[in-house]
């Protein structure tokens, strides 16, 4: 007999896995897609977002404002500073950017360990739980899914319908041509890096109540988000969404069937096979005209 409640619960879990993958990857996808910069400090941007939200909450700011406003702004500013002091000098040297951002990642881990200590701090998730038949699940899960949908829709709208999006897409396609038409690519890059960092901060803050925050939490995120971005390919939005859908589903089903650790292993193993089959990522073959 088919258990409808269980299927509904599993569907929510799968959607949640997809949403959280998309959330943690989209900041990286923007930075990588627009600037061809591999930012290995991405996980630490997420971690900083989590800390920003927690510190803001402990200062008495409402948790919603702390997560949705404070964290993106703080991490966005940090992103711009990083772009101006490190990334700027390394454009076109992909491997060197990777190394430098890895150094940055170690530095940030060291710094947060010194400041906050090597312990997990948590904030309790707002929103209670609700009932699906015989099962209970957290309302926060639905909130994370909603945030992911809003963020994706927002990115689509900005890229598709605003002047900023037009400039960004133009610079992405041909930086020299954009410069000839009066755009200032270094400024576009700085803004892009800031926006990518801000979105990472948002993701880190939104996921903080689920996972807690500790200095080395970035490691848990970074591999997954990289795999999602690379599996997705060149198109920022359709790539992130399609790869998150694929990997999130596999991850959640494997987790459901076995253990969370094995779910993660299944995700990463699928990704390696996928990259062998589609070296250009999913959008290198499908949805080519997507954003």
């Amino acid at each position: 007999m088919v258990n409808v409640d269980l299927i509904a619960l599993l569907a929510i879990q799968v959607l949640y896995a997809i949403a959280s993958l998309a959330l943690i990857s989209v900041g990286l996808a923007i930075i990588f897609g627009m600037m061809r910069v591999i930012n290995l400090a991405h996980g630490e941007f997420l971690m900083l977002g989590g800390y920003a939200a927690i510190v803001a909450t402990s200062q008495g700011i409402s948790i919603w404002i702390a997560m949705l406003v404070v964290a993106p702004i703080v991490v966005g500013i940090i992103g711009v500073i990083v772009e101006l002091t490190i990334i700027r000098f390394l454009y076109g040297r992909m491997v060197d950017t990777m190394l430098a951002t890895w150094g940055l990642s170690l530095f940030l881990v060291g710094l947060t360990t010194a400041i906050f200590g090597n312990t997990t701090v948590g904030i309790s998730a707002p929103l209670g739980s609700f009932q699906i038949g015989a099962y209970r699940t957290s309302g926060y899960t639905l909130f994370v899914i909603a945030v992911a949908v809003v963020v994706m829709a927002g990115i689509f709208a900005v890229l598709r319908w605003t002047r900023l999006g037009l400039i960004a897409r133009g610079t992405m396609q041909n930086a020299n041509m954009a410069a000839a038409l009066g755009v200032n690519p270094p400024r576009v890059y700085a803004v892009t890096f800031g926006i990518g960092a801000a979105l990472s901060g948002l993701a880190g803050a939104v996921l903080a109540p689920v996972s807690g925050v500790f200095p080395t939490i970035g490691v848990a995120y970074v591999a997954k988000s990289f795999i999602t971005v690379i599996g997705g390919g060149a198109a920022i939005l359709s790539g992130t969404v399609s790869a998150s859908a694929l990997f999130g589903t596999i991850n959640q089903i494997a987790t459901f069937a076995t253990t969370p650790v094995f779910g993660e292993v299944a995700l990463l193993a699928t990704a390696i096979v996928l990259i062998r089959l589609l070296p250009q990522g999913i959008t290198g073959r499908f949805f080519r005209r997507g954003l």
């Binding site: 491997v95 190394l99 150094g103 170690l106 060291g110 360990t113 990289f226 990463l268 390696i272 070296p279």
Partner: protein, 357 residues
């Protein structure tokens, strides 16, 4: 003095210093210093494995610690099961090599660009770390050896002379073994790089398309280079498991991977002596930083005794300011000095000749 004689002088110097170090250290230094030097030697072999595949092969591998850890774990597990170290030692080399070959097949025959390569190797390391870390329960065992999960495997029996279980290698013996292994690795790699094979892999690093048009298959050459690097790292892992009689999953960790990259970038890509120097320097720095653990809770001591923080700064600084690494940069300066001296001498000669003429 041309490049060839310089090369031979360099080789001779390394040999003399190496042998002197090997013979003199246990006689002059305390046992704990010898013990510390032993781990430097082991790590230097690990550094050489990445120096080969990244510095000469142009393959950016962020997961060299995966092979290192695999070697250590293979040795430990096989050692508990057999009790005699010949087969475990061979396994500790063969298994990482086989794993490198498999992974390399996916990457090189998939024609993944070097940046993606870095990400994939990083991911594989994380998979290994996560999987081994979660094997703490008693149900995870291979033969009689329990994997131990995040607790690691303690009390690994040391190496013995091949075929003789009783002739266990002691701490001082370990130093001789590690140092001799490092020297053998260094000269072996020099030989390999001077051979036809070595020329071809450097050619591929310089221009893959051109090498391919000349009839070489870059995929196969990269695969072989990567496999040799994996085997070397596994060997180093085996020695490391011996040195501390202990392995834990942190050996697969990102911090370990980062260190290996930092050794090579600080010492210099495209040299062999550079990564050895970088490795020993950074390891020494690490020990020194770890030695004065913060007694107070004051922020400055916390920052100074913080290895990731310092390593991170070193990595960023080197990428931005000394991208070639120490040894090649010093070499450049040396050449510049030499050239300016020759020029000055030439300039000094000219007026004289004019007078005579």
């Amino acid at each position: 003095m041309n490049a060839r004689t310089l090369n031979f002088i360099g080789l001779g110097l390394v040999g003399i210093i190496g042998v002197a170090f090997l013979v003199l250290t246990p006689r002059l230094a305390e046992l704990d210093t010898v013990l510390e030097f032993t781990v430097y030697m082991i790590m230097a072999i690990l550094a050489l494995s990445l120096a080969l595949i990244w510095g000469y092969g142009g393959i950016l591998c962020f997961g060299q610690s995966a092979f290192f850890g695999l070697g250590a774990y293979s040795y430990a597990i096989a050692m508990f099961n057999t009790g005699e170290s010949t087969i475990p030692l061979l396994l500790a080399i063969a298994l990482p090599a086989a794993f490198a070959a498999l992974l390399g097949y996916f990457m090189f025959y998939g024609r993944i660009s070097d940046v993606y390569l870095g990400v994939i190797t990083l991911t594989v390391t994380l998979i290994l770390f996560n999987s081994v870390n979660s094997t703490a329960g008693p149900e995870f065992h291979i033969g009689v050896a329990r994997l131990g999960g995040f607790n690691g495997i303690p009390g690994i029996p040391p190496l013995n002379f091949p075929g003789n279980k009783a002739a266990v290698i002691d701490l001082e013996g370990m130093f001789y073994l590690a140092t001799a292994a490092l020297l053998a690795t260094y000269f072996g790699l020099r030989l390999l790089l001077a051979s036809r094979f070595g020329r071809i892999i450097v050619g591929i690093r310089e221009n893959e398309r051109r090498a391919e048009l000349l009839g070489y298959d870059p995929r196969a050459y990269k695969l072989v280079t990567f496999t040799i690097g994996g085997a070397l790292a596994g060997f180093a892992g085996c020695l490391f498991a011996n040195w501390g009689n202990f392995v834990s999953p942190t050996i697969f960790g990102l911090a370990q991977s980062a260190q290996i990259i930092i050794w090579v970038i600080v010492g210099g890509r495209g040299t062999l002596i550079g990564p050895i120097v970088g490795c020993i320097g950074i390891q020494w720095l690490n020990t020194a930083l770890g030695a004065n653990q913060p007694s107070g809770s004051d922020l400055w001591t916390k920052l100074l005794a913080n290895a990731p923080l310092i390593l991170g700064i070193i990595l960023v600084a080197f990428v931005l300011l000394v991208p070639k690494g120490l040894v090649p940069t010093l070499g450049d300066w040396g050449q510049l000095l030499l050239r300016s001296r020759t020029r000055r001498m030439a300039a000094g000669l000219k007026p004289k000749q004019a007078e005579e003429g």
